[in-house]
């Protein structure tokens, strides 16, 4: 990972952002990410991201929850220590539906949130670069990753033509690291200069 070189452009309107994303992709540039203050439906498809499978994971966690509840209660009440409640059968499934349902929901929700945090690498004390602090306010920030073959000036003017404002080159850490936002911390003290073009 480490520090990489990016060309970063700001957009203030989704109506300009969408065609710009399409233009950039058509021109063959690699979009590192677009940071937005709120979810924009369709932007993920415009950027060519694949659909998330988080809900499938949630379904699997839910099934595990149901199986855990029914399995454990069956073992506890019918195998390990059968107790006679008013002559009713030891294996009395209808009475276990509430707990089976609750554990299904519990496992699915907790599992999904943990998976979400893992996939997005979110946790307390995690610190990340996100180019422009205004991207959580009112600015849509598009970051294009530069390789050693990228012509910076060409890319900058290309982005400006597509409608981006304040286009600039930034060297940013793409990975997360442990740190507090109150203190200026950098994962790598020294910035790695981009490879010169031969």
């Amino acid at each position: 990972m480490g520090v990489k070189k990016f060309v970063v452009g700001n957009f203030y309107d989704e109506a300009i952002l969408f065609p710009a994303v399409k233009k950039v992709r058509r021109a063959g540039y690699k979009i590192h990410d677009v940071y937005t203050p709120h979810p924009i439906h369709g932007l993920d498809h415009a950027m060519g991201l694949r659909d998330t499978s988080l809900h499938t994971a949630g379904f699997i966690y839910g099934i595990i929850g149901t199986a855990t509840a029914v399995g454990f209660i069956t073992w506890a009440l019918a195998v390990d220590w059968p107790l006679n409640f008013g002559g009713k059968p030891f294996f009395s499934l209808p009475a276990w539906i509430p707990i089976a349902f609750e554990l299904t929901v519990l496992f699915a929700s907790v599992g999904m949130v943990l998976t979400f945090c893992y996939l997005c690498q979110l946790a307390p004390f995690v610190k990340k670069d996100h180019f422009n602090p205004r991207s959580t306010d009112d600015t849509f920030v598009m970051a294009l990753e530069c390789s050693d073959k990228t012509n910076d000036t060409e890319l900058i003017s290309f982005l400006q033509e597509a409608g981006a404002a304040d286009v600039q080159i930034m060297h940013k850490e793409t990975d997360w690291w442990w740190g507090r936002y109150g203190k200026e911390t950098k994962r790598f003290e020294k910035q790695i200069p981009a490879q010169p073009v031969h």
Binding site: A15, D33, T36, P37, V113, F116, K127, Y181, G182
Partner: protein, 482 residues
Amino acid sequence: MSLLRYESHVRAPLVDGSKDYHQVTEDICRPVEAKPSKLWWMGFLISAALLVFGIISVTIEVIYGTGQWNLNKTIGWGWDITNFVWWIGIGHAGTLISAILLLFRQGWRTGVNRAAEAMTIFAVMCAGQFPIWHMGRVWNAFFVLPYPNTRGPLWVNFNSPLLWDVFAISTYFTVSLLFWYSGLLPDLATLRDRAKKKWAKSFYGVAAFGWTGSTKHWQRHESLSLVLAGLSTPLVLSVHTIVSFDFATSIVPGWHTTIFPPYFVAGAIFSGFAMVQTLLVVTRKVLGLQEYITIEHIEVMNKVIVLTGSIVGIAYLTELFMSWYSAVPYEHFAFFKNRLDLSSPYGWSYWIMMGCNVLSPQIFWSTRMRRNLTLTFFMSILINIGMWFERFVIIVTSIYRDYLPSSWSTYYTPTIWEVGFYLGTFGLFFTCYFLFSKFFPVIAIAEIKHILKRSGDNYKKGNLGIETEELEEFGHKNLEHH
């Protein structure tokens, strides 16, 4: 893009005034970033004082036992379980607003969901206190969990509604908390990136989990919210259903009815919305958020109140009919002698319940009344008094005179420590709410931005022309990007 953004002008705007994204951030973050007002300090200190009184009351109960309360062998559940059911009922509106209304695509939920969800979490925290401290030997509270123990292991009774309650409420609390906090992450990141003070940067930095607003993260976040909403919808219905099973699966006349689950759920939504109104009518005024929590929002919630209040009313009447129709003398006694009859010891509580829950909300059939803030505030308090009495009626009038006259109880009044415990939960609730309204954005910023260009006042006005546009002209303007 305006094609995607269009919403009929017949629908009232959800955000008033001329707003852009930055203005939304400014407006909602202002109360968080400003110094707390004198009013805030006053409210906070009163709540904290109530909380302290509650802690003292509970401490005395723990030291001397549940004998400190006026419960006896006949009235084993009194104020404590009444309060438990009351709080848990209040804790239903938040998840209803955030989950069910999300699935129904009700845009207006965005203005109120954050505060309502927070309220839900605090109400469930208050509710949980009652069964726990009611145990008496609270140090044995972990006995309700199925853990391997040295007594066999002897497992808990999974067939018992009281154990279902343990699972239902702990699940409900956990899921509501996760739902609320995952929705908060983007807004905490907004506060983090705006923060000027060092402590605020650190606090919101830690709390925001390193949220960046990456498109992929938003995509997952949307999926997470949708599935959590889908899971919470049956969950919120199940929780109060299971609470009603605590009563309905017994054979006590007055409890032994199959109508309880839907009747309890409707009552829970009813009282929950009333509490949301109590809080939001004040919050919007004090924090200056009238443009985000508009009169429209208040009106819509009053519509929910009149609907659920009427459902509750039908349930009361159905109960009466079924008790008459059953021809069971004990049922007759419980309903017609112990409740309806004003001359019976607790007859008055039944009629307070009827008056507050069934008759008074009918005023909201009138649009003018629904849009009257003072009346809304007054009604919201009245409804919660009524809903408290509903639980009191169900619990106390059913058990204080049941099958055997020799075991009938004398008139039950709470001791100061029972009342203190109840007031203490008010302290807990409002202390939490005051802290929340100071340190967290009370409106979901990202969600407001998401609907702004469709339902914001100034954007809707800009879209008015579409309604009279020729088809060709419309296509020319809107379809070029696609």
